[in-house]
Amino acid sequence: MRALFALLLTAAAGATAAEPLLAGDPRNARDLYKLHCAACHGETGEPTAVGKSLGAPLLKDPALITSRSDDQLVAMLLRGTPTHPAPGTALTLLDASDLVAFLRGGLPSVSDLFPDAAAYTVKAYTLQGPALVRAEALVDGELKPEERTLTVFSVYSGEQPPTGPRLVPQDPVLLDELSPKTKRGYIVFGWMGAGPIAMALAPDLSVARLLSQDPLVAKAAPAVVGKGGREVGRRKPFVSKSAPDAAKALTRLYARAAEAAAMAAREESDRHLFDAPEKK
């Protein structure tokens, strides 16, 4: 009888542990967003007229939210920054945590593209010189100035924190602890129509995965996933008969992504150039 009870307890505990760990209370966050944020950032995350005049960013941009840690976002909400006022003094630490979880919800995350991700780094790269020439050759046109800068997320596997992969800041010591052997790939975010699109690249810079709510992306995906590579000769414009415009837009994103990710890979290689062979 005792054994049976123990078994039942174990089963119950297992069921509880299987529940996803929520980082905040979504209902409270929705109310707080409506009260404190929506007037500038809009109900859907798209800035209002006042927000635009104050330089409010697009909160639907996954790169903007993913490139900041929970602690950074909470601090910004509680204390404000030179570019963002604290919403009155009405928020508590728990309120701010609820809001951060709410802002992350519904956006493609690092875990969505690399389920085994444990850590990631973020850095923005600006294409210039030969990299820009190569990218423009692939898109067969000129890249706009705002297109020349792209944020690259480098993803690593390892022991997964229960709250999701951790953001490793650009600190030389912390970056050195990330082994190239655990590298899973790169992520870049772009826009197609009104929605964001996430593109994951494998370490060899081929397209590993696409994530978007746009049905055209799903149509174009067979012509994109698995294509491309580190060698410039392997990078060719994507062609899709069912979604030609989507394929063209994805080519434009990939041309920038491949060059920016190559720059990230070079930096990492330089960082570990003098590592001991066993560590490498």
Partner: protein, 333 residues
């Protein structure tokens, strides 16, 4: 026979004369007394015997004369007991009580507080855990448990969920927000998701009484919210007024149709803000009052202010973020 008839008629007439008079109110309707006059006892009520006619004071002329038209309200005599009035400002209502619970598991001591103490479905509950550790044989207070990786699992009449419990800054103190989705008895389990920590369960009644098994107690907040006597009650600060206004605005914006009574209450709250511009922005007092008056008028007309119009005032007078609102919605820092 005639003599008998005449005698009977005489007796009947005498009997009619001797019949008691009907009560005065049945004789003729009396006009209502003037509003300021003291109510007169009914004539048949027992009352103290009047003094002799010589010593009897003359009744006031108003009592003698026919009822005069009611005097204007300003000159009315004050009632002896002031009528009960509700507080002008809603935040004076005392906050709901807290509920505390002390739990023990092996060496772990968890002191739990949740506010409000009577959770309702759809309303936010703030849970705070004071987690300590006291090994067998240790004397004194439990040692605060820092850097715990804790999660709160909830199960009950609604969907199950597991929340990350956050350290709140003080040693051993953690907290989490939870909005119960349904009425009934919920089981909450505080457990570590990583490494060591307490593993304790307790039950919470949402919209129902707390279960006896919880063995907790209701605690009224120790804050003084209303002092005795209305005149001494502290005036709510602008921050308190705006917090209450925000809560009400949120409720009304979620409702299919705003409640006119609530809008009036909100207008009253906003009116109380007028004339209370932040000291450092005193030069903009007229603008501040104008913005508040504009929103008050809208509330009084039955309209709920838009978030944009609230923001207009907040950006300048709360956050100090914008100095010039003249080109609204275009603003510059």
């Amino acid at each position: 026979m005639n003599r008998r008839s005449a005698w009977l008629a005489f007796l009947l007439a005498a009997a009619i004369r001797a019949q008691p008079a009907p009560p005065p109110e049945m004789k003729q309707p009396q006009p209502p007394p003037p509003p300021g006059a003291k109510p007169q006892p009914p004539p048949d009520a027992k009352q103290p015997q009047p003094p002799p006619a010589a010593a009897q004071p003359q009744p006031p002329p108003a009592m003698k004369q026919p009822p005069a038209p009611p005097p204007p309200a300003q000159t009315q005599a004050a009632p002896e007991i002031a009528p009960l009035v509700s507080p002008d400002i809603a935040p004076l209502v005392p906050p709901p009580p807290e509920y505390t619970l002390s739990l023990k598991q092996d060496e772990w001591r968890v002191h739990l507080t949740f506010r409000p103490g009577n959770p309702e479905p759809g309303k936010l509950v703030v849970l705070a855990f004071d987690v300590g550790r006291q090994k067998e044989g240790d004397a004194g207070e439990p040692q605060p448990f820092n850097d715990g990786k804790l999660a709160l699992a909830v199960s009950g009449p609604g969907p199950r969920a597991r929340y990350l419990v956050r350290a709140l800054g003080d040693a051993g103190v953690y907290g989490v927000h939870w909005t119960p989705s349904a009425r009934g008895l919920w089981t909450l389990t505080l457990a570590p998701y990583k490494e060591a920590g307490p593993n304790v369960s307790f039950q919470v009644g949402v919209g129902v009484a707390m279960p006896a098994s919880a063995q907790g107690r209701m605690v009224q907040s120790s804050r003084v919210v209303v002092t005795a006597g209305r005149a001494e009650a502290p005036a709510p600060s602008v921050k308190q007024l705006m917090a209450e206004l925000g809560k009400r605005w949120l409720d009304q914006s979620a409702a299919p149709k705003p409640d006119p009574a609530e809008l009036k209450a909100m207008a009253k709250l906003l009116k109380a803000v007028q004339g209370r511009v932040p000291r450092e922005l005193a030069a903009g007092a007229a603008e501040f009052d104008g913005l508040a008056a504009r929103e008050t008028a809208q509330l009084e007309m039955g309209g709920l202010p838009e978030p944009q119009s609230c923001l207009q005032c907040h950006l300048k007078f709360r956050d100090g973020w914008v100095k010039d609102l003249s080109k609204w919605p275009e603003v510059k820092r």
